[in-house]
């Protein structure tokens, strides 16, 4: 297990992932500080919210791209075959792979905690909850990207599928509101077919819109729905791992 996790971290270093993510985060923070500095009042809040929001998206996109290309390359280089030739079940191998990506996500979340806490003096409780929910969100995203990379033959299609999934998960609250009260959205005629499709989609997409609210950093965590993050991650990560595993066990090498 530790060997696989160490292997993931080494490949991340080999692909300059740590340097790229750190540099990207620093650039986003610098740009946010510049933009926040132009605000008439609440300069620090502006810089903090823009940094946190920007880094969140950057981190998730970075993880998706790295995981999809990493897994597809491992298939092409026959590294996967080398791993599964060892006395380790395929399921354990998959879990170890996911754990390796989770450690990567944890390191990046810690980087964000240090930056947001030290530079902007974010609300401590809010920062703790924001970071925790961001980490759990990263676990879900990592599991989805891993499952996509295992199932789909092309790294590009795996990345694009992951992007679509992430966007839909972030907009899921809006979709549910639309389903509940279509008349509230003036000008859009409710259609039974689209309603049905949206309702079915909503069932299988996680509620990432509830995670990582930047308002917690400014005003503190409101104390509601803490269990949602844990429950969502506890249900959705195994779901994705089982899905990926189902396909992985049927693969012939």
């Amino acid at each position: 297990m530790y060997t696989t996790i160490r292997y993931i971290l080494l490949t991340a270093m080999r692909d300059w992932l740590f340097a790229a993510i750190t540099l990207g985060v620093l650039l986003i923070v610098a740009l946010s500080i510049f933009l926040g500095g132009t605000a008439l009042v609440e300069k620090q809040q502006f810089a903090m919210v823009l940094s946190a929001g920007g880094c969140r998206i950057f981190l998730m996109v970075g993880l998706m791209i790295f995981i999809c290309f990493h897994v597809r390359r491992a298939f092409e280089n026959r590294e996967i075959e080398m791993f599964i030739s060892k006395p380790m079940s395929r399921f354990l191998f998959l879990v170890c792979y996911w754990l390796g990506f989770s450690v990567l996500a944890l390191l990046f979340v810690i980087l964000l905690i240090v930056i947001l806490g030290s530079l902007f003096g974010a609300n401590v409780g809010g920062l703790a909850m924001w970071s925790l929910s961001l980490f759990l969100e990263a676990l879900i995203v990592a599991a989805f990207a891993l499952a996509c990379a295992l199932i789909l033959k092309s790294a590009v299609s795996a990345v694009l599928t992951s992007f679509i999934f992430y966007t839909m998960a972030r907009l899921m609250g809006f979709m549910l509101a639309f389903l509940d009260k279509p008349e509230a959205f003036h000008g859009v005629a409710p259609m039974k077919i689209t309603d049905f499709v949206m309702a079915m989609t909503a069932v299988v997409i996680p509620r990432l819109d509830l995670f990582g609210k930047t308002e917690w950093l400014v005003y503190g965590y409101d104390g509601t729905g803490l269990w949602v993050f844990f429950l969502q991650a506890a249900i959705y990560v195994p779901l994705l791992l089982f899905m990926g595993m189902y396909d992985f066990t049927r693969k012939q090498f």
Binding site: L35, T38, A39, L40, V41, E42, Q45, F46, V49, L50, A52, G53, R56, R170, L171, M172, G173, F174, A177, A184, F185, H186, G187, V188, D209, G212, K213, T214, E215, L217, V218, Y219
Partner: protein
């Protein structure tokens, strides 16, 4: 003749010539399209159009605070982008008014929107537009009077000194004076100051007198100031004024109904 005619047949075009002709043709088409699209310009309105309700709900559902900050920044910089510098008198204040309320739906706790509205957009050269700002500040106060009393105070300042609408200032001053929170003494005295400016010294005196009667633990400095206000500015020691104040006090219960 036939053989000569067949000999003079033009040579078929080479592949390179076809490619060049195709390139020139599509270059001309691109030029024609440019000419057709020339009138279609980006929306350079001073105040950006209000986003649709659907758009706001969609983006806000993901991270409302981030979306609020992006829109707030857009509002602050409106009219001063793309190298433009627009005087405030040219802004569409009814549209700005709607922007203020839209941003309040995303984050009503932030002080950014009232600050931009009051300190920046309240300085318009077209003074009548200040009414939109005052209306917004007044309604923003209603969302949380204990926290937002400062913005109502600023609305009073704008009404009094920019709009010169003393009656509006007086109405807002009474509202500020009854704020259900710990506000500075001067905020509670605000109606008296406006009454004084209107020359209604008896009413001003009654406001101060009421504060003296109902407040506990008034600091010495405040007591000194109120004494100065009553004696030096209202001239309470003047016998006529005292008589008129007493008469007004007698009438007050009847007026209350």
């Amino acid at each position: 003749m036939i053989s000569r005619a067949s000999n003079s047949k033009p040579k078929p075009y080479t592949q390179e010539q076809w490619l060049l002709a195709g390139f020139v043709l599509f270059l001309c088409l691109q030029g024609a399209l440019w000419f057709y699209l020339k009138p279609f310009r980006p929306n350079m309105a001073i105040v950006p159009p209000l986003p649709a309700e659907r758009t706001v709900k969609a983006f806000a559902s993901s991270d409302s605070q981030l979306y609020f900050r992006l829109l707030a920044m857009r509002l602050q910089n409106a009219g001063d982008t793309f190298g433009r510098n627009t005087p405030l008198k040219n802004y569409d204040y009814p549209l700005l008014h709607r922007w203020f309320f839209l941003l309040d739906t995303l984050d009503v706790k932030s002080g950014f929107v009232p600050a931009v509205a009051g300190y920046y957009f309240g300085q318009t050269q077209h003074v009548e537009d200040v009414r939109y700002v005052i209306d917004y500040l007044d309604k923003h106060y209603d969302t949380d009077p204990q926290k937002n009393w400062w913005w109502l105070n600023h609305a009073i300042y704008l009404s009094n000194y920019r709009l010169h609408d003393k009656q509006l200032a007086l109405r807002l001053a009474y509202k500020l004076g009854t704020t259900p929170a710990e506000v500075p003494m001067w905020a509670r005295q605000m109606p008296a100051f406006i009454h004084e400016q209107l020359g209604e010294k008896e009413q001003a005196f009654m406001i101060i007198e009421n504060i003296l009667k109902t407040s506990k633990d008034i600091p010495d400095a405040e007591l000194n100031y109120m004494q100065y206000f009553i004696q030096d500015r209202l001239g309470f020691l003047d016998k006529d004024l005292k008589a008129r104040t007493d008469a007004l006090k007698k009438k007050a219960p009847a007026n209350a109904h």
